[in-house]
Amino acid sequence: MSLLLEARALQKNYGRITALADVSLNLRPREILAIVGESGSGKTTLLNVLAGRIAPDAGEVFYNGAPLSALGELKLRKLQRSRWGFIQQDPRAALRLDVSAGGNIGERLMAAGARHYGEIRATARQWLNAVEIDPERLDDMPKFFSGGMLQRLQIAATLVTEPEIVFMDEPTGGLDVSVQAKILDLIRGLVRRLGLAVVLVTHDIGVARLLADRLIVMRHGRIVETGLTDQVLDDPHHEYTQLLVSSVLPA
């Protein structure tokens, strides 16, 4: 199977701080790749570079074999609005809180080329239903939604164009555990049903174990260990991975 996304020798510095050092990875169609590591390990920077939101100082990201840097601003934006999706930890930063729930979903559809008002509304309804929000809330403003509902709305507003790759930055961070379980279950189901490829950043080992096929462990901007998720978590080789795994409180 061909590579959907490939990163080669990525480098990124913020002043004297190294955020990414010689990071290479690849992603295949329908594969779920988790990036774990503590705060400051460079995992969010890596996600942003992979998603074309930050340019690396050196190295290159390839999408279907073509370098992102050669794509041009316009084509990259178009890609990010339709074939790719990005789910942020804080849905308030991604959604427009004073535009209706349906409007938030419809906006991305329209950016991807949809024009028929009735169809857009119908699709938005279907997606509210898919993320377990009462479709009757189509015209409600998200500013009245709970944190869990907002996150589900962001998921709907991202997946509505049925993207090929979805980048997720701590999608369950900051939510109650009961809400977290619901979101995880939702993501798990949708990812399988739609055959999405996912790059998921998380500091939660349990989330990685539940969702990911493969795992990348980062520290100080470098990949210290990578492999099948269960293999890395059950037989961690690097000192830092062993610390990470042994630091989890058993439920």
Partner: protein
């Protein structure tokens, strides 16, 4: 036909958090299993039975040796195969029954076993056979008893015919009646040509299902 052939397996655990302690667990371990055959792993606690079984699944990474699995007609070395090949082998060829079920929040017993909605009928059937009544099918197994969880775990494996099936104490938390059902399931799998490798502490189960026993000895630590 040889389905699984492992040889020269070496595994040392380096415990960085315990002052770099090194544990040599496997030194030259190996086994071969043909279609329709069952090999039991035995030996004292600490001899590396679970380590070997996990290595055969690619869950533990061996330092040396090869693990050949017959996958889609070819012998593939699990040790050197790329991650996507290992995932494919685990999807199609190589099954594993762990000692404990890892329950997923909110997912019903039926869906844990079925995996995909199309397999729900088959899941209901195998759950019933393992004595998990209809009433429990819609519930997430997190609240089930140890024995019930283990039977859900077994149903997940026996819902399909794996060419190679690895079993870690499959009957440990079961009563005699359920143990006998599991023995029958394993016998049926063998009759259909599956190659089985298992750890069975219960001598009754081992005698009923194993054709051969591979005895492991603890490796002397330096």
């Amino acid at each position: 036909m040889m389905m699984l052939a492992a040889s020269g397996l070496e595994k040392t655990f380096s415990l960085h958090l315990q002052g770099g302690t090194r544990l040599d667990v496997l030194r030259g371990a190996g086994l071969g299993v043909r279609a329709g055959e069952c090999v039991a792993l035995s030996g004292p606690s600490g001899a590396g039975k679970s380590t070997l079984l996990r290595a055969l699944y690619g869950n533990y990474l061996v330092d040396r040796g090869e693990i050949l699995v017959r996958h889609a007609g070819e012998l593939v070395d699990l040790v050197t195969a790329p991650a996507e090949t290992v995932m494919e082998i685990r999807r199609e060829t190589l099954g594993y029954v762990s000692q404990f079920l890892r329950a997923i929040p909110r997912v019903s017993a039926l869906d844990v076993v079925a995996g995909v909605p199309e397999c729900r009928d088959a899941a209901a059937k195998i759950l019933r056979r393992l004595g998990i009544g209809e009433k429990l099918h819609a519930l997430p197994p997190a609240t089930f008893s140890g024995g019930e969880q283990q039977r859900v775990n077994l149903a997940r494996a026996f819902i399909r015919d794996w060419p190679v099936l690895l079993l870690d104490e499959p009957t440990a938390s079961l009563d005699a009646e359920n143990r006998d059902i599991v023995i029958r399931l394993m016998q049926e799998a063998k009759a259909k040509g599956a190659a089985l490798v298992g750890i069975f502490h219960d001598a009754f189960v081992r005698d009923a299902i194993a054709d051969r026993t591979l005895t492991l000895e603890p490796v002397r630590q330096n």
